[in-house]
């Protein structure tokens, strides 16, 4: 069992009348890559700033290494942050930027230079050491910002949407740089982002936040396949959500009446009772397509609205007779094998066990 590095204990933070974070309880393990994700204004950046001591919690305690941090000043903490704006010092060169933290900590000049050069080298930007920040490209600046934080040899690195300003191809490259670094150094990364692909690609655990509260904590897989509630299901995207009333529950199987038809879902004992209203979700990649009506309980006839290609994957957007939108995701290769006539009605079907009932 790995040790808890950080504990948020009933943290509450408000700015005037605005509640940024409410009743937050969670912990961060030593050496894990944790992503905090949510739409803008959900409190994720405030959470990170509280970890760095830049914002103080209104109530509750934050513990780092079992020590209460509420009154510890930012400069007394070992929590370097990689800023969304990068916040590089424009009047210093790349190397001087990296040396800054060591200088503040009173590291002697020759040693400072040695360590800074080491990190610039590690991140592949050694040749730019004497360059002005303004002459560097976005990706190079990103690396300087990373080096500036990592040269402090922290136990925990905080990252606030560090890749949001980069081009798409650079984002993918930096993602692998970051995951490799994290593994190599074995330190904790706390990564704030609004991007699901970034969070899912890198994190061991993901915290989903909504309106200052934690909506779900879990591995990317859990969050994708078993969203805890409607917010998470919608936020994670490529999901089909159907809502209706429970008609009957037999054994571990419930029958729901929805405007799109009647469907069967697997339920745990006591999860749903008759006449409950309930929602369930089917991931877009677990839906089957066929030209004729399939021999299955959970079927919907739809008309194709649009398609979206992302490389080898294709997402189909369809609509049924009652106007509900469905998303189906599959390999482009698989889709062409089906030889569907996209102008005619297409049948969607899924197995009962693919459906996941949402909590309220």
């Amino acid at each position: 069992m790995t040790k808890n590095l950080v504990v948020f204990d009933k943290i509450h933070k408000s700015f005037g009348n605005f509640v940024a974070v409410e009743e937050m309880n969670f912990d961060i393990k030593e050496g894990e890559f944790i992503a905090i994700m949510g739409p803008s204004g959900c409190g994720k950046t405030t959470t990170l700033r509280m970890l760095a001591g830049l914002d103080a919690p209104s109530s509750g305690e934050i513990l780092i290494n079992d020590q209460v941090m509420n009154d510890v000043k930012p400069h007394e903490r070992d929590t370097p942050l990689v800023w969304q704006s990068l916040a590089l010092f424009p009047f210093l060169t790349a190397r001087e930027n990296v040396e800054f933290g060591l200088k503040m900590r009173g590291v002697e000049k020759a040693e400072r230079k040695k360590r800074a050069l080491n990190w610039l080298d590690k991140l592949g930007i050694l040749e730019f050491q004497d360059r002005d920040i303004s002459t560097l490209s976005g990706g190079q600046k990103q690396r300087v910002a990373l080096a500036r934080s990592l040269v402090m040899e922290p136990k925990m690195l905080l990252l606030d949407e560090p890749l949001s300003a980069l081009d798409a191809h650079l984002v993918i490259r930096m993602q692998s740089v970051l995951t490799q670094l994290q593994k190599e150094l074995g330190i904790t990364f706390v990564y704030v982002t609004h991007s699901q692909s970034e969070a899912f690609a890198m994190a061991d655990r993901v915290v989903i936040m909504s309106k200052g509260e934690i909506a779900q904590i879990g591995s990317p897989r859990d969050i994708y396949r078993e969203p805890a509630n409607q917010f998470v299901a919608e936020f994670v995207g490529r999901n089909n959500i159907l809502s209706g009333t429970v008609e009957s529950v037999e054994h571990n199987r419930a029958k729901l009446n929805t405007p799109s038809g009647d469907f069967f879902v697997e339920v745990k004992a006591g999860q749903l009772t008759e006449r409950d209203s309930a929602s369930f979700v089917i991931s877009a990649d677990l839906v089957h397509l066929s030209a004729g009506e399939p021999d299955s309980k959970n079927t919907v006839a739809c008309q194709l609205i649009s398609e979206e290609f992302v490389g080898s994957m294709v997402t189909l957007f369809l609509e049924n007779a009652s106007g509900h939108e469905f998303k189906v995701q599959m390999q482009e290769r698989e889709l062409s094998k089906l030889e569907l006539d996209l102008a005619k009605p297409i049948w969607l079907s899924w197995s009962e066990c693919s459906a996941h009932v949402l909590g309220c």
């Binding site: 760095a52 830049l54 000043k73 930012p74 400069h75 903490r77 929590t79 370097p80 942050l81 800023w83 704006s85 916040a87 010092f89 424009p90 009047f91 210093l92 060169t93 800054f100 933290g101 200088k103 503040m104 900590r105 002005d132 303004s134 500036r148 934080s149 402090m152």
Partner: protein, 266 residues
């Protein structure tokens, strides 16, 4: 869009006129300072440096010049320090009545100088600091601090507020951050503010005349000379004053505009 010839001529003419009105008197003052004749009339007499020799031999004028230099240099430091502090307080903090606070700080230049001068004389003699050289420094600092604050505030507004937090985050105390981040970032504006406040102080007459007592500055001496008679020495002094002021103002501009985006060594 088609160029309107007439409009260009009118605008061009306007610009020429503006510069003519500003610089013609100064230009003629410089010309007459090298004129051998006592009265500023045309045709000119011979080229002469007589008046320059004369002012450089006059201990009163030399002392006034030294006073002016001391006052403007001290004012530049004090006013810029005051201006920096107020600009930083505006950048860093949010508080009630911040609007009135800023308005009050910007008030001094809007008060008629003669009223300001009288008020300062009365106040300084009341608290016993009138008639000294540093009385002028205090008075000038009050007058010019708003200029310094305006220049430094503009610069601070261009700063990413995360820079300061980033320095704290990397282990910098608030003082270390001030010294290693805020100050280097503001350096061009600080130098610019010092040049400008020095220039304003160097030229200022009304307040100096009221609070200086026996410590005359250059503008006060100029008045005394022209009150007595017409003396081309004034033109020679004026030329010096003009050169110093324009140098300071140009330096202020160079530092404020030119150096903003370049690297300043730290």
């Amino acid at each position: 869009m088609k160029k309107d010839g007439l409009l260009n001529v009118v605008l061009g003419g306007y610009v020429v006129l503006v510069f003519l009105f500003i610089f013609a008197p100064i230009f003629f003052s410089i010309v007459f300072s090298f004129n051998s004749q006592r009265f500023p009339t045309i045709p000119l007499g011979e080229f002469s440096t007589e008046w320059y020799v004369k002012i450089l031999d006059d201990p009163d004028i030399l002392e006034a010049a030294l006073n002016s230099l001391i006052v403007s240099f001290s004012t530049a430091i004090l006013a810029t320090l005051l201006g920096f502090c107020t600009a930083y307080s505006d950048f860093r903090y949010n508080f009630r009545f911040k609007g009135p606070y800023l308005a009050l700080i910007l008030l001094p230049p809007t008060i008629p100088l003669i009223i300001m001068a009288l008020a300062m004389l009365a106040w300084f003699s009341k608290i016993g600091i009138s008639g000294q050289l540093w009385s002028i420094v205090f008075a000038h600092s009050v007058l010019t601090a708003p200029f310094a604050m305006a220049i430094i505030r503009l610069r601070l507004n261009q700063m990413d507020p995360d820079l300061e937090s980033a320095a704290w985050n990397l282990g910098g105390t608030e003082w270390a951050t001030m010294r290693h981040v805020i100050f280097p970032f503001c350096k061009p504006a600080i130098i610019s503010a010092m040049c400008l406040t020095a220039a304003v102080s160097f030229d200022e007459f009304a307040v100096s005349w009221f609070v200086s007592g026996l410590n005359k500055t250059i503008p006060v001496v100029i008045l005394e000379i022209v009150q007595g008679n017409i003396d081309p020495q004034v033109n020679a002094i004026g030329t010096f004053v003009f050169l110093i002021s324009i140098t300071l103002v140009v330096l202020a501009q160079v530092f404020f505009i030119g150096r903003q985006h370049k690297k300043s060594s730290s």
